[in-house]
Structure formats: C-alpha cells, structure tokens
Amino acid sequence: MALKTCARAIVCGIVVACATIASAQSVAVELDQSAGYSTEDVAAAHTKLRAFGEVLPAIRFNVTGTWGKQSEESDAFAAAYPYTDRPVVLDAYAERTFRPAGRLFGLRVGRYRTPFGISSESDQGYVGFQRNPLIRYDDFFALSSTFFEHGANVMFGAPRASLEASLGAPGDVGEHTRSTGLDTVLRGQIVAGAVIVGASYIDTRPHLPRAGADSASPFGAAGGEVEVEAREVAPGRATFGGIDVRWMRGGVQLRGEFIAGRPFDGARTRGGYVDLIVHRPFMGPITTALRAEQLTHTDAGVLMLQGERYTAATRVRLPHGFAAHVEIVHNSRALPERRATAVDMALSYSVRLE
C-alpha cells in the first residue's frame, strides 16, 4: 500500500511539474477520438488526450489521459486503449536520452507501459489491428497491453544493441490488474540489417480480476465468489520470457512475438503471433495486415484454454486526421464468449495542437 501511495505521489508530482515547467516550453497536445462497432454486438467509443514535449532542452515528458466505454467487455477495439468507463491516466513520465560518442543511454521515470516485447501502444494500435494479440489481452492469463509500471526505466547500449531494465510497481488500468509489489522487467534488443530481434523477461505479481468485474472470466464464472477463488488459485509470482522479431523491407513488415511462462504458481501460458503488415509506397494511405496467433493456458497440468485466431485488417488514412479501420477476425478454436467470425469497423480522428 505504501509503495502504491508513493508511486501515485511520484506520478502526481511529475504531472504537476511538467504542467508548470511546460507552460514556457515546447509542448504539443494531441486529441484522439474513435468509435467502432463489431458484429460481436460490441460498440465502443474512446477519447484520448495526450500532452507531450520538452520541458527543458533535453528532458521530455508524456502525459496521456483516456476515457473509453464499451457496450460490453470485449477485446474488440482494445488494441491501444482500455475501456474503463471512467477517466484514467495511462502514461505520465519524464525521460532523458543521452548519446555520448554514439552510445545510447536513456532514463525514464514515472508511469509507463511495461516494456516487455512489442509493447508500445503505437506498435499495436495504429497499424490496422483493432484487437490486442491473444497474449496481450488480460482475460487470457498471459500479459496485457493495460500493464503499466510506476518506477524507473534505464536503457543503455548502442542503437544496434541495447538493454533496458525497469524496476517498479504495477500500475495497471482496465478490468484485471496485478496486485502491488516489486516488479522487474528486462529487455535486450539487437538490430542487424533489416532485422530487429528482442528478448524480454518479466518477474511480477499475478494479475487478478477487479472486484465486481468477474463476469469477464474466460471460464464463464460470475459473482464475488470467483474473486476469492481467483485469488486462491493465483498465488506466487508471475514470470514470463519472450522473443520478438521484426523484419522489414520496402514497406513490407513481418513481425512476431512468442512468450511462455507462469501466470501464477502451478499454471503455464504460452503463445504468440505472426503479423504481415504491408504498406508499399504505391498503396498510398492504405495499410493492410494479416495476423495468425495462438495461445494455450494450463492449470495444474489441465488444459484450460486454447485459442487460435486469424485476422485480416485494413487501415485507410483519410484527409483531415480521419482514419477508417476494418478487420475480419476468425477463431478457429473456441475462445470463450467469442463468435467464430467477427467484423470490426472503426472510425478515428486525431488532431494535434502545438
């Protein structure tokens, strides 16, 4: 509790400091709005406000607030945003990057996304996919795109080979959150020609349903009893290792991420995805993407969840900050509470004020 209070105080301090200092510096404010409908009978709307810039010549800040609402809980349209039906702060950090003699050293302090694998909001949310990968949705006992850290993140190395370490406490948003405690994330990355390879490791606390949100359990259970049950069956620590690979040339990107680990004592989750993202120059404002993914979760050696999903997605950048997104999702093996095939459609608008 003390750690959480301390972390909140740090975040608030950074936000206030940024707001104060930034009034005389280079600051941009970005407003994103989106609305979507899925044939899974899910409608969603989302607003995001982000302030970022340089508070001093070399110190940058990023504060992002968001509000999102879905007609019912789903991973549809959740690639970049949580849908909490209340305003929440996502990022709130200050960072500085040093480049001594071609080396790289970066320090980030505050509240930031858990730097495991292909984790950036921009990596997941703006290339056409409207849904998180299965291994990034918090219903499926892997990791979640709504994981955040309160702490410090250090990156060092060189542009072609770097290491990143984060030490902090979980500060998740969304329906399923990790309990508080010390949280360690390590990540290494190598760039070789057109290939970028990363390896990540996380040692953290298991994530659990929030009280009153248990109807979202993938096992279909509901009610407060499940909260107790979940806490009983999610003891110990959560540890995951992962590898991510990107290759790109001439507007064609092939990328994938594979993770395996223990969401809590006695359980195993492993899975991954492969994306083909095509944006050749002749395609102009159109980006197309294909994804194949798989996830398996066992508890005490018993298969509890197994899913395979295939996605075809397109994003079209329209004039004046608008973008249209359409994707077709097909589940080849039963995922709980999912239709075999669904179509997601969304329209988004983004504007920046400087």
Binding site: A28, R108, S122, H279, G321, A323
Partner: protein
Amino acid sequence: MSRGRVPFVVVALWSASAIFGSATARTFDLRGTVSAGGRPEPDAVVWLDAPDADGPRSDKPVVLDQRSLGFFPRVLAVRAGTTVDLPNNDRVFHNVFSFHDGKRFDLGVYPVGMTKQVRFDKPGLSRIFCNIHPNMAAYVKAVDSPYFAVSDRDGRFTIAAVPEGTYSYHAWRPGRQDLTGSAALNPDRLLALQWR
C-alpha cells in the same frame, strides 16, 4: 600550334576565367520576407532559378529529425540530389514514408538512435509521414537551385552567397499556389513576397 602547347593554353584560359569570373560574380546574402494576408508566413520555401549554378556547399548533413513524435523541421528545403538523414530520436519506433508527388519511399520501422537516409534526386514536393503516428507530418521541397531558404517564424529568410543579377524567384508554402516572379537582386534589395 604544336601539340605540346595545348595544355598550357587551356590552363591559362581556365585561370583567366577563374580570376575574372570571381571578380565579376559578386555575391551577397539575399534577405527578404514572406507574408500571407498581411501576416508573416513561416515555413515558406523561397528559391531562385539557377539550375546550373554551383552555389554554396556545406559539409553539414541535412537532417529531418524525428523527436517528440514530430518531424523537425516541419518544412525542409534541399537542392535536388541531396541525401537527407532521418534519425529516430524518440524511444518509440517510427516508420517514415512518402507516397505523394515527390520521392516515394517507405523506410520501415527503426528504433531510437538509428538513422536512415533518403536521396531526393528530383525537384518536387514530398509529403513525409509516419505510418505509426498519424499526426507526424513534414514537407521536403527539393529545388533545382543552390539558392533557397525557408522563412522563419517571423516570415524572414536569408539566401546565402547569391551572385548579383536578375533572377526568376519562386515561393511555396503548404496549401498555396507557388508565387513566381522576376527581380534584379543586389545587396540593397529586400525581396518581399506576399500571398494575398
């Protein structure tokens, strides 16, 4: 004339040309202003027609920086044939591309600290975007001249080392037709360009 004297004559003519040429081609820094609707116009590209001129040269790399989820500068003017560095100085990946009238390319994603290069080999306007961050946008205007500049936030510009003479001039800014005209330029002349 014997064959042995030919090189001597060529060298002598070249030397004379260089000496007298440099004496007659007096250069100066051309200053001017750009406005639109009576207000100073920042980020306007101004250039003079001089496709065959050598012009001033610089060893400094031409950079279109990516930082704080933006391109800096937002309008970059280069001479056609210039190679531009596009470093990523953000801790997120960027994916720079251009698909409009000028240079067409997609650099793919690359991380912090890395630099990719693009050669703008023909005159024209290239609109630069990031395929990940929808609000990142910039213009690269490649011109067939060594004499060009981009106006500052007060609408002022300076074109360095312009030889005195009469030139056709051009001005471009996002969303407007090019301004063109002709003027005799000398150190006493302030070039004032105006969109109505």
